[in-house]
C-alpha cells in the first residue's frame, strides 16, 4: 500500500470558475432582481454554506457520521446571544468564544464515542442534538430562555477610526503593493505610476473637502493597482494610462463630487447606524458603526466568512491533517497501520468542524437577533447533512449546489404559484431531469437509451397534448417514473424494454385520452388546493431518496482524491497482486 500515491486534489471548479463565482457573489446585491427579501435569503444561504463547509470537515473529509451538527451551530448562537444580552459583549468579539465553546463541547462529547461503528455514531449524534434541544427548551441553568429562546441579540458593531490616517495608511498600502507588482520596471516609471495612483486617490477629497469620496478613492486606488499589475512589462505607456485615468477621474469628481459625496454619506447612514464620534488616543477619532436590519452588510460579512472558511478548508485539505483524514476515511485500519493516531485525527475533525459551526451560529444570532431551540432541531441537522451529502460528500462545489437545493430553492418556491409550477414549467423540468438521469445511466447504448427515453417522454406529454388538459402532466410524471422503473427492471433481466415501453405508452395514452377528462378535472382541483409549503418536507424527502438512487455519490461528487490502496483493497479475498511468473 503506497501511501505516497495520493494525487493532489484536482479542483472541481478551476480557478477561473472560483473567480467568476466570487465576482458574481460580490456583485449579487447590485443585480436588478435582488430585493431585500432575496438578499435576506442570500444571507441565510451564506450561513448554511458555512455550516455545510464545517460539516464537510467531519463527514466529507474524515468520513464520520454527524447528524447533530445543529447542536453545535446552536451552541455558538446561544453563546453569542447570552454574552450579548447579559454581558453586552459585542457579537463580533464573541466569535472566538462561540467557536471555542462549540469546539470544546465537541471534544468532550465525541471523545468517548468516536470509536463506535458508523451508524452508532450517527445515532449518538442525533441523541446529542436532541439533548441540546431539550436542555434549551428546559431553560437549563436559567440561561436559555426556554422554548421561546432569547430575544435581542445585538447586531454587529465596530469602531471605525475615521480620520486622515486611515486614508493615508490605505494609500501607503496600495502603493507598497503597487511597488512590489511593478518592481521589475525602471524606478522612474514606478514613481510616475505611483504618483498617478496617489493623485487619483487624494486629489478629489482634498480639493472638494468631501471625506466620503475616499470610499470611491479606494476603488480608484485598487483599479490603478489592477492596471499596473495586468502587464508584465510596466512602462511609460501604462504609467501614462494611469495618469489619464487619474486626471479624468479627478475632473469628474471636481464637477460632481459634492453630490456624490452626499450620496455616499447618505448611503452609509441608511445602511449603518452611525454613532457620535469618540475621541481616542493620539488624536484619533472613532466612529461607532453598527449594522442595521439591512441585509447587504450582513451579506458581505457572511461572504467574508465564507471566503475565510474556503481558504482554510483548502489549506486543511492539503495539510498533514487533511491527508490523515483521507486515510482514515478510506481505510481506518490501514491508516492506523501507517502510524496515524486515528482517534486524535477524528477528534480534530469533530472539534474543528463543530467550532466552525459555532461561528456560523454567531452569525445567525446577530442576523436574526432571536435564538430559539426550534432553530437548531433535528430537521436543521438533517438539512445541513443533506447539503453536504446531496451535493457530494467532500466536494466544495457540491456544498454550494446543496445549499441552493436545500435552502434557496424552498424559499424561492414560495413565489411559485402551484398551478403554474405543476401545469407550466414544472413538468418539463421534471421530465428533463428524468430523461437526463436516464440517458446518463445508460450511457453505453445511446440509441437504445434514446428510444426508451422517447417512449417515456411520449407517455408524459401525449395525453396532455391530445386532451389539452395541462393537469394530466401530473399523471404523466407518474407514467414517466413507472416507465423508468420498468425499463430498468427489464434491462436488468436482459429483456429488450423498447417494445414494452412503446406499447405501454400507447395504451396509457389511449386510456387517458378516453378517460382523461374526469381525471384531469380532479387533478386540477387538487392542484388548485395545493399549498407547496405543506409539502416542502415531503418534497425534500422525495428528492433525497431520488437523488440517492440516481446518484449515490451526490450531485457533484468529489473526484476521488486518487487514493487507491491498490486493487487489493477492492478485490479483497485475501489475494494479493504479487504473482510468481511462469518461466
Amino acid at each position: 500500500m503506497n501511501v505516497n500515491s495520493i494525487a493532489t486534489d484536482k479542483r472541481q471548479l478551476s480557478r477561473l470558475g472560483y473567480a467568476l463565482l466570487l465576482i458574481l457573489a460580490l456583485a449579487l446585491p447590485f443585480l436588478g432582481f435582488m430585493d431585500r427579501s432575496k438578499m435576506s435569503v442570500a444571507v441565510l444561504a451564506g450561513i448554511y454554506v458555512i455550516l455545510g463547509l464545517s460539516l464537510n470537515i467531519i463527514v466529507g473529509y474524515a468520513g464520520l457520521f454527524q447528524l447533530g451538527h445543529a447542536a453545535f451551530y446552536g451552541l455558538g448562537a446561544y453563546t453569542t446571544a447570552i454574552l450579548s444580552i447579559n454581558y453586552g459583549v459585542p457579537v463580533l468579539l464573541s466569535i472566538p468564544i462561540a467557536a471555542l465553546i462549540a469546539g470544546i463541547a465537541a471534544i468532550i462529547i465525541s471523545k468517548p464515542i468516536l470509536h463506535l461503528r458508523g451508524d452508532y455514531l450517527c445515532i449518538v449524534t442525533i441523541a446529542f442534538g436532541e439533548i441540546f434541544r431539550i436542555a434549551a427548551v428546559n431553560n437549563i441553568f436559567g440561561i436559555t430562555g426556554g422554548s421561546n429562546g432569547l430575544f435581542g441579540t445585538a447586531r454587529p458593531e465596530f469602531l471605525l477610526p475615521w480620520i486622515e490616517p486611515i486614508p493615508l495608511i490605505t494609500l501607503i498600502a496600495i502603493l507598497i503593493v503597487y511597488a512590489i507588482t511593478v518592481r521589475k520596471s525602471p524606478l522612474n516609471v514606478q514613481l510616475l505610476g505611483g504618483a498617478a495612483i496617489a493623485l487619483a486617490y487624494y486629489l478629489p477629497p482634498l480639493i472638494t473637502g468631501q471625506e466620503p469620496l475616499f470610499v470611491l478613492s479606494i476603488v480608484m486606488g485598487l483599479l490603478g493597482l489592477l492596471v499596473a499589475s495586468m502587464t508584465h512589462n510596466f512602462s511609460y505607456r501604462e504609467a501614462g494610462a494611469l495618469w489619464g485615468i487619474a486626471v479624468v477621474f479627478a475632473l469628474i469628481m471636481l464637477i460632481g463630487g459634492g453630490n456624490l459625496a452626499g450620496a455616499i454619506d447618505q448611503g452609509v447612514r441608511d445602511t449603518f447606524k452611525v454613532g457620535d464620534p469618540i475621541e481616542g488616543p493620539m488624536g484619533m477619532t472613532f466612529v461607532p458603526v453598527a449594522f442595521k436590519r439591512d441585509p447587504i452588510p450582513y451579506y458581505y460579512l457572511v461572504l467574508i466568512f465564507i471566503i475565510i472558511t474556503l481558504v482554510g478548508m483548502l489549506r486543511l485539505q492539503d495539510s498533514r491533517l487533511g491527508r490523515a483524514w483521507l486515510y482514515v476515511r478510506e481505510d481506518e485500519l490501514a491508516a492506523e497501520a501507517t502510524g496515524i493516531d486515528t482517534t486524535r485525527v477524528k477528534l480534530a475533525a469533530f472539534a474543528i468542524g463543530s467550532a466552525w459551526a459555532g461561528v456560523a451560529g454567531t452569525l445567525y444570532a446577530s442576523r436574526f437577533t432571536v435564538v430559539s431551540p426550534d432553530s437548531f432541531d433535528f430537521l436543521q441537522s438533517v438539512i445541513i447533512f443533506c447539503i453536504v451529502v446531496l451535493g457530494g460528500s467532500g466536494s466544495i462545489p457540491g456544498i454550494l449546489v446543496g445549499t441552493l437545493g436545500m435552502v434557496v430553492l424552498p424559499e424561492l418556491l414560495r413565489d411559485v404559484a402551484p398551478t403554474f409550477l405543476i401545469e407550466g414549467i414544472g413538468p418539463f423540468a421534471i421530465l428533463a431531469l428524468i430523461l437526463a438521469f436516464y440517458i446518463h445511466s445508460r450511457r453505453q447504448h445511446l440509441t437504445k437509451a434514446a428510444l426508451e427515453a422517447g417512449a417515456i417522454a411520449l407517455a408524459f406529454i401525449a395525453p396532455t397534448l391530445l386532451t389539452a388538459q395541462p393537469s394530466l402532466y401530473l399523471a404523466g410524471i407518474v407514467a414517466a417514473l413507472v416507465g423508468v422503473w420498468i425499463a430498468s427492471e427489464l434491462n436488468r433481466r436482459d429483456i429488450n424494454p423498447i417494445p414494452w415501453l412503446w406499447g405501454g405508452a400507447v395504451i396509457y395514452i389511449a386510456l387517458l385520452t378516453l378517460a382523461g377528462q374526469g381525471l384531469a378535472q380532479s387533478l386540477s382541483d387538487g392542484i388548485h388546493n395545493f399549498r407547496i409549503t405543506d409539502w416542502r418536507d415531503g418534497l425534500m424527502g422525495a428528492a433525497m431518496v431520488l437523488m440517492m438512487i440516481l446518484r449515490p455519490a451526490g450531485l457533484i461528487p468529489e473526484r476521488r482524491r486518487g487514493i487507491v490502496f491498490s486493487a487489493v483493497a477492492e478485490v479483497g479475498e485475501g489475494e494479493s497482486v504479487s504473482t510468481p511468473q511462469l518461466a
Binding site: D494, A567, G574, E575, V577, T579, Q581, L582, A583
Partner: protein, 238 residues
C-alpha cells in the same frame, strides 16, 4: 458434454479487470483443481461460477443450463454448491442449524434432509458430537468440516471448495483431502481451489493453473505435477 463449462469469462471488480477470459471444463465424476498464486483469480472464478459475481461477458454452462446470468440462490437449486474460503460458517447458528441451511433448497422434505444429515455425520463424526454447539465455537478444522458438510447437505452434483486447507494443521489437511476423495468417490464432482498446489495436484484428475486472471496452463494433474515450470513456480522447487 462436460458438467461445467466456462467460455471466455471476463469479470470485473469495479474497474479492476479480474478475470480476463477464463475457459475451463469440469467433467462429471472428476476432481478438478484450480491452482495459482494469491490474486491470480481463483476465488474470483469460483464466485463467478456460483453467481456471487456476474461476468461481464462469456458463458457458463452447468449441466446443460446457462447459469452466467442466474442469481446465486437459483444455481444452488441446480446442484452446484460452493463452500467458500475461510470456513465461513454461521457463527451464531448451531451446527445443526448450519447444516439445515445447507439443505435449504430441499424445502421441508424432512426425510431427504435427515438422510443427507446422516451421510454428512458419517463423513464427519465430529460434527454429530457437536451438533448443538454454535458454529463460531468450533475449532478451525471442525469449522472446515462444517463448511464442507453444509455444502453437501443439498446433495450437489458439483461441489466447489475454496482453499479447504487454509490455516489448518498438516495432520488435518491430510484428513480433509482424504474426505474430499471420499466425497468424490460417492459420486460428487469436485472443483477445488488450492494454494497448496502439490496436495491439490496429487488429489485431482485434471488441473488448471491461473495467473493474473488468465489460464496459463492446463492438463491432467499428473502431467502438471511433473511440469518443469509448475514445479519451479508453485511447488517451491528450483
Amino acid at each position: 458434454m462436460a458438467l461445467l463449462e466456462l467460455q471466455d469469462i471476463h469479470t470485473y471488480y469495479g474497474h479492476v479487470h479480474a478475470l480476463k477470459g477464463i475457459s475451463l471444463q469440469v467433467e462429471e465424476g472428476q476432481i478438478v483443481a484450480l491452482i495459482g498464486a494469491n490474486g491470480a483469480g481463483k476465488t474470483t472464478t469460483l464466485r463467478t461460477i456460483s453467481g456471487l459475481l456476474r461476468p461481464r461477458s462469456g458463458s457458463i454452462i452447468f449441466d446443460g443450463n446457462p447459469i452466467h446470468r442466474m442469481p446465486a440462490h437459483r444455481i444452488v437449486h441446480l446442484g452446484l454448491t460452493h463452500a467458500p474460503e475461510g470456513r465461513q460458517v454461521f457463527p451464531t447458528l448451531t451446527v445443526q442449524e448450519n447444516l439445515n441451511m445447507g439443505a435449504y433448497t430441499l424445502g421441508n422434505d424432512k426425510e431427504a434432509i435427515e438422510e443427507n444429515r446422516r451421510r454428512v455425520f458419517k463423513l464427519f463424526p465430529r460434527l454429530e458430537e457437536r451438533k448443538n454447539q454454535l458454529g463460531g465455537t468450533l475449532s478451525g478444522g471442525e469449522q472446515q468440516m462444517l463448511s464442507i458438510g453444509r455444502a453437501l447437505m443439498s446433495r450437489p452434483k458439483l461441489l466447489m471448495l475454496d482453499e479447504p486447507s487454509l490455516g489448518l494443521a498438516p495432520m488435518l489437511v491430510k484428513a480433509i483431502f482424504e474426505t474430499i476423495r471420499e466425497i468424490n468417490r460417492q459420486g460428487v464432482t469436485v472443483l477445488l481451489v488450492e494454494q497448496n498446489a502439490r496436495a491439490a495436484l496429487k488429489l485431482a484428475d485434471y488441473a488448471y493453473v491461473l495467473e493474473t486472471g488468465t489460464i496459463a496452463l492446463e492438463g491432467p494433474a499428473g502431467e502438471l505435477l511433473r511440469d518443469e515450470r509448475v514445479r519451479k513456480a508453485y511447488l517451491g522447487e528450483t
